[in-house]
């Protein structure tokens, strides 16, 4: 095991936190869909892949400016998300949860296959959004793209907060999350809200995929692992709590970054799933409820 100084740990912390922001974005998408429709969406990672790959296509293939490519990719994936909801979840919305989970797996496989068909197996990349010298934080290096990642996550969080707390539409979506039948009784179009939830979540996933594209190579098969990590994060929030997912996502990113420095590299991806087990165990012991009772 190599010897690390304080500066190295700071480095792990900042790069881990920015990777964690990606997991937060994916996890929040899962939570949104689960709350409104009760579906555990195993295709969430594919929205991330589609976002990244479409942005690369719009930027390199159509020569759009980077920011336009970003927005166009997010909007396209939102449309795809809405389409997926209409075609796969909507017709089976009264089916048992087991069936719905299998449906989302099928969707994920089909989307991955489409990605392979459209873009092949070659990994792609985007240029950094604002190229320049990396920032120096007390000795730790922070690339500008990582700032973009954190900024995007923050912007999405603020947007979600404003949307859910301060708009009528957002409140209607929340009402569906609380009780679908009663929402229907007071005149909320729950079908439309489910569609909206899917579109929003797809957009969040796409944004996550686009902002990491400059840092890692992106390819058709990136969705599986990222989607699974989003899951770990969503489960940390019990599939319902957004604040818990934000904290969980950041922690997962930092853990992984530390583990990559300490453990052999192959085990890095196993860590997220060990964390998942730990979370499941923790939920069994009702740690969260202990806290709730005290306050």
């Amino acid at each position: 095991m190599p010897q690390y100084g304080l500066r190295d740990y700071l480095q792990f912390l900042v790069s881990g936190a920015s990777t964690g922001c990606i997991y937060v974005l994916i996890g929040l998408g899962l939570i949104t869909i689960y709350n409104v429709t009760g579906v555990v969406n195993l295709a969430q990672g594919e929205f991330v892949m589609l976002g990244a790959m479409l942005a690369v296509t719009y930027y390199q293939g159509l020569h759009l400016p980077l920011i336009v490519a970003f927005l166009a990719a997010v909007l396209s994936v939102m449309l795809i998300g809405a389409l997926v909801q209409r075609l796969t979840i909507h017709p089976a919305r009264r089916a048992p949860e087991v069936t719905l989970i299998i449906i989302t797996i099928g969707t994920a496989i089909a989307l991955r296959g489409l990605g392979l068909l459209a873009w092949g197996t070659t990994p792609r990349s985007l240029p950094e959004f604002s190229p320049g010298v990396p920032l120096n934080l007390w000795g730790a290096v922070l690339s500008r793209q990582r700032l973009w990642i954190m900024g995007t996550a923050l912007a999405v969080l603020v947007f979600l907060y404003l949307f859910f707390e301060h708009t009528l539409l957002g409140k209607a979506v929340r009402a569906c999350a609380i009780n679908r039948q009663v929402s229907q009784l007071v005149g909320i179009n729950t079908e439309f809200m489910a569609l909206l939830a899917y579109a929003l979540s797809a957009g969040m996933g796409a944004a996550a995929g686009i902002v990491i594209a400059p840092l890692t190579l992106v390819s058709y098969d990136m969705g599986l692992v990222l989607g699974l990590k989003g899951f770990v994060v969503a489960i940390m929030g019990g599939l319902v709590s957004a604040p818990a997912a934000v904290i969980g996502g950041l922690l997962l990113g930092i853990f992984e970054s530390l583990a990559a420095g300490i453990l052999p590299s192959g085990f890095k991806d196993a860590l997220a799933f060990l964390v998942l087990f730990a979370v499941l165990l923790g939920r069994t012991m009702r740690i969260s409820e202990l806290f709730r009772r005290r306050t």
Binding site: V40, V98, T107, A110, G113, I235, F273, L276, F277
Partner: protein, 356 residues
């Protein structure tokens, strides 16, 4: 989706008859279909059938999805491979020890998960599956890493190694039919009735004194044992194991096999498994004829779409849907055909109105 709750002697007679018919068909199959390709395909179908039967018990009767069944399958395979190749054990002892170990692991995974309500088993088994494949790749000293572990011996019966595929075919299908018979017995036992009660309503079952967590745990362990034994059979047939045969994609394919056969139908398992295997092989043959480049892509897309379509339109699976069609349409064909058609049309329109 729910099968009739009342079952008894008549059901058991019908099941026995079914198993015997299937045994007769499969026993005589090599007489007229004896190409090496067909035989090895049938052996693999038999091996996957054992896993699928376990999955049907878990998903159809336990009401839980396992997205890591390939990992249990892989633990059986690697357990057998490592114990015979590295430790020099007898294959049969290795099979039993691997199964016991796999069952224990399933038990340990199940304990925390089944204390929670909801579909955490899907996530837990998924995570377990990913970790297992990472271990297979990284723990090179025992597993041989990504290149795999060669040199697994053939199974022996009375000291004679089963060298020919034909002998292995009979061994695999005898095991599969035994697995089927055991599963059918489980379904018709007190245990099976408790599972069905849980699936239909956890609250009602619990209020009648059914210990939900314990039953779910037992069915998870049963399905893991099925998968592990199948994995051992796989390792001794392929005489080689590598991590790609047990990854997430395989888990998904196993779920697809169970879904095509019908989640709540043990009888569906062999047919679902055969349908998916033959479809996969068929797509591999047909797709290159239709397009000049990139056959793999279309195969993956077709596969995903198929999974969605089956779950949306035939959630009870091919076998149940087929049998219903048979009962409703074919048996009563004749004098009442016209009335039937009219009734069917009426049902259809009523059904569509209800759905809208």
């Amino acid at each position: 989706m729910s099968a009739p709750i009342v079952s008894g002697a008549a059901d058991q007679r019908r099941n026995l008859l079914g198993v015997l018919t299937l045994a007769l068909l499969l026993g005589t199959l090599p007489l007229w279909l004896n190409t090496p390709y067909a035989l090895s395909t049938m052996i693999l179908i038999g091996i996957y059938t054992i896993v699928t039967i376990g999955l049907c018990l878990l998903m159809g009767y336990g009401g839980q999805v396992s997205l890591g069944q390939a990992a249990f399958f892989g633990l059986g395979a690697y357990g057998s491979a490592i114990l015979t190749v590295k430790a020099g054990w007898s294959p049969w002892v290795a099979l039993l020890v691997a199964a016991a170990g796999t069952g224990l692991i399933a038990y340990l995974i199940g304990i925390p998960i089944f204390r929670l309500r909801g579909h955490y088993l899907a996530m837990g088994t998924l995570a377990f599956g990913v970790i297992t494949v990472i271990m297979m790749n990284e723990w090179k000293q025992y597993t041989g890493g990504p290149t795999g572990l060669p040199g697994v011996p053939r199974l022996t019966i009375a000291g004679q190694p089963l060298k020919s595929d034909l002998a292995y075919y009979y061994l695999v299908w005898a095991s599969a039919l035994l697995a089927l018979a055991i599963a059918l017995n489980i379904v018709n036992s007190r245990f099976g009735r408790a599972l069905r009660a849980i699936r239909d309503s956890e609250a009602a079952a619990e209020s009648l004194g059914v210990e939900i967590g314990r039953y779910k745990l037992q069915v998870l362990v049963t399905s893991a044992l099925y998968a592990s034994v199948a994995g051992s059979l796989y390792a001794h047939y392929m005489i080689f194991v590598s991590p790609t045969a047990f990854d997430f994609g395989v888990s998904v394919r196993l779920v697809l096999m169970a879904a095509v056969g019908g989640l709540a139908s043990i009888w569906g398992a062999p047919f679902g498994t055969a349908a998916v295997m033959l479809l996969t092989l068929g797509l591999r043959e047909i797709v290159p004829l239709l397009t000049r480049h990139g056959s793999g892509e279309y195969q993956i897309i077709a596969y995903g779409i198929l999974l969605v379509v089956i779950m949306v339109f035939m959630p009870e699976g091919l076998v149940v849907a087929g049998m219903r069609l048979w009962r409703r349409e074919v048996r009563s064909w004749g004098a009442v055909a016209m009335a039937r058609v009219a009734g069917y049309a009426g049902r259809l329109s009523r059904g569509s109105r209800r759905r809208s």
